[in-house]
């Protein structure tokens, strides 16, 4: 039997009824990886499984390669971490292992999560299972591609400006960015510390809730994780949106948005309206400033976070042929030159520039102030609605190499996902149709802080009314 097309909750129910054993599920998944990974390059390394899972949650979770698993390689898609094996488990990995599940590391990603296409990985681009000539989105492109291709039943990604939701949208799967602080960042290699959250990428909304159940919660080792009770998110899987107020922000239906994307999202709005949701037009006036704000705040944080990769404690060390400055400084500079790819270099330079003497107030401080305005837009909007609905990305998956030489065009593909990170609010992307090329379209729902249950309720209601989550890419 082929298990790779099933969801985790379907497999769990088969395991519960003793209709299958976890050994067979693992075997089937490993065969799937061997068969299709050379097409997708979703896994940088094929998963090594020593012993079959035993617990009730015996379905392996794919792990993006910036989340630490003790004694296993973690590359962040970069050459600079060559050979590095972290000596500890990330908080989320600990929780998954405690549930009795396997973790399958090594899911490909843009280098240090810098990208929207999964093309900046040192280990080569990941491909979209719906069209191998196209990108899977990014930066968690490996996670989304693996789930869409059946190489992983479910997976974790990380989302700093849309890196879970945008690839989920491009690959026709479900991606959730929880509220900032809902999930521990301990053991997630930091990109933008005030923006990063780990989130589930799954085949349907039910799996998303089950996986969030596993990973959510306070961790004293991440002082930004929040010590509030974790509800049972599975209880939020209710087919009922009667009376829920859903806001439609006019700034998210702009010129340049693919008409097929806009039309799929409008159809989704109609379905929710028929189910009894109250649809309201709202405004998030500072939306157009979000990308600019993000590329200052996120690169500033990234440039300081990446200062730790210097050829001393771990990873790569390179020295130049001749002395340029001093032997030590030359070693730092050459290690970082050889270790980082172009996009990482651009972001380190941009972040360093906006923090440098004479420019801090003009760029970084100003961006932090605009971040306040963007957050206030959401505070105000949530005074009149329970959730906000919009496209996840303005287009469907673009072609490999299409945007590689135009960083700004690449950045703009995150225009609808970045605001949720700046405001720290939860947001989910769910499949809402296909364009004429049979490429998936994503619907984004954003909620109030810690209102993941509302997102699940709306997503589940929509999903139960539509067939999109049942479609599988053919490979």
């Amino acid at each position: 039997m082929n298990f790779y097309n099933l969801t985790a909750h379907e497999l769990l129910s088969l395991l519960d009824q003793k209709k299958v054993i976890s050994e067979d599920v693992l075997k089937s998944l490993k065969e799937r990886v061997s068969l299709v990974n050379k097409k997708t390059n979703a896994f940088i390394r094929e998963p090594q499984v020593s012993s079959p899972a035993k617990g009730a949650f015996g379905i392996p979770v794919g792990i993006k390669d910036n989340i630490c698993i003790a004694d296993e390689l973690v590359t962040c898609g970069s050459n600079i971490l060559k050979g590095f094996r972290p000596p500890y488990d990330a908080g989320v990995v600990e929780k998954i292992k405690a549930h009795g599940s396997e973790v399958w590391g090594g899911l490909n990603m843009d280098e240090f999560a810098f990208g929207s296409s999964c093309e900046s990985s040192f280990y080569g681009p990941t491909r979209n299972p719906w069209d191998l000539e196209r990108v899977p989105g990014g930066s968690s492109g490996g996670s989304a591609s693996a789930v869409a291709a059946g190489e992983a039943v479910w997976a974790l990604g990380s989302d700093t400006g849309g890196s879970v939701r945008q690839p989920a949208s491009f690959c026709g799967v479900v991606g959730l960015k929880p509220t900032y602080g809902r999930v521990s960042r301990y053991g997630l290699v930091a990109f933008g510390s005030s923006l990063d959250q780990i989130g589930p990428i799954t085949k349907d909304v039910t799996d998303s809730a089950l996986l969030l159940n596993m990973i959510a919660g306070f961790d004293k080792r991440d002082s930004t994780s929040v010590d509030t009770p974790v509800p049972d998110y599975a209880k939020a899987l209710v087919k009922d949106v009667k009376g829920l107020k859903i806001g439609i922000p006019k700034e998210y239906f702009i010129d340049g948005i693919d008409p097929e994307v806009a039309s799929a999202v409008h159809e989704a709005i109609d379905i929710l309206k028929k189910e009894g949701a109250v649809i309201k037009d709202i405004s998030l006036p500072h939306t157009e400033y979000a990308v600019a704000t993000y590329y200052i705040v996120a690169t500033a944080e990234a440039s300081s976070n990446l200062a730790r990769f210097d050829g001393v404690e771990y990873g790569l060390r390179e020295v130049p042929d001749r002395v340029r400055k001093t032997p030590l400084i030359d070693m730092y500079e050459t290690t970082r030159e050889k270790g980082f790819g172009d996009e990482a270099k651009r972001r380190i330079m941009l972040g360093t520039y906006v923090l440098s003497s004479g420019y801090y107030d003009a760029y970084y401080l100003r961006a932090q102030k605009v971040r306040t305005l963007i957050k206030q837009d959401f505070d105000k909007a949530f005074g009149e609605c329970d959730a906000i609905l919009c496209p996840t990305s303005p287009t469907t998956a673009f072609k490999i190499n299409e945007k590689v030489n135009d960083p700004l065009a690449m950045y703009l593909s995150d225009i609808f996902t970045i605001p949720a990170n700046l405001a720290g609010i939860p947001a989910i992307s769910i499949p809402c149709g296909f364009d004429k090329k049979k490429l998936p379209i994503g619907l984004q729902i954003m909620g109030k802080p810690f209102a993941e249950e509302t997102l699940f309720r709306i997503s589940y209601t929509y999903e139960q009314n539509t067939p999109w989550h049942l479609e599988r890419a053919k490979l």
């Binding site: 930004t224 440039s303 001393v312 001093t326 032997p327 330079m349 941009l350 440098s356 102030k369 971040r371």
Partner: protein
Amino acid sequence: MINKETVNYVGALARLHIDPQNADRFAKNLEDILHYVEKLNTLDVSSVKPTSHVLDVENVFREDTVIPSLSQDKAMGFAVEHHKGFYKVAKVIE
């Protein structure tokens, strides 16, 4: 205006050597992005407080208790070079 010199200056601050062949390209990339972010200058933010962090938490303290930690061997196990419990780098002081 971002030029080769700016790229080299920022590279030096970030301890990142920039190959002269790539400096012009990086200068153009940075120039484009900085030009784009100038749109933030059209907003009046004189009375707005900056947001460095979205949550309303500050000063997270814990008890200062000793808990098991990594052994020195394990912590240094991935260093490119180490010697008697120290990271080894090129000579710094003459």
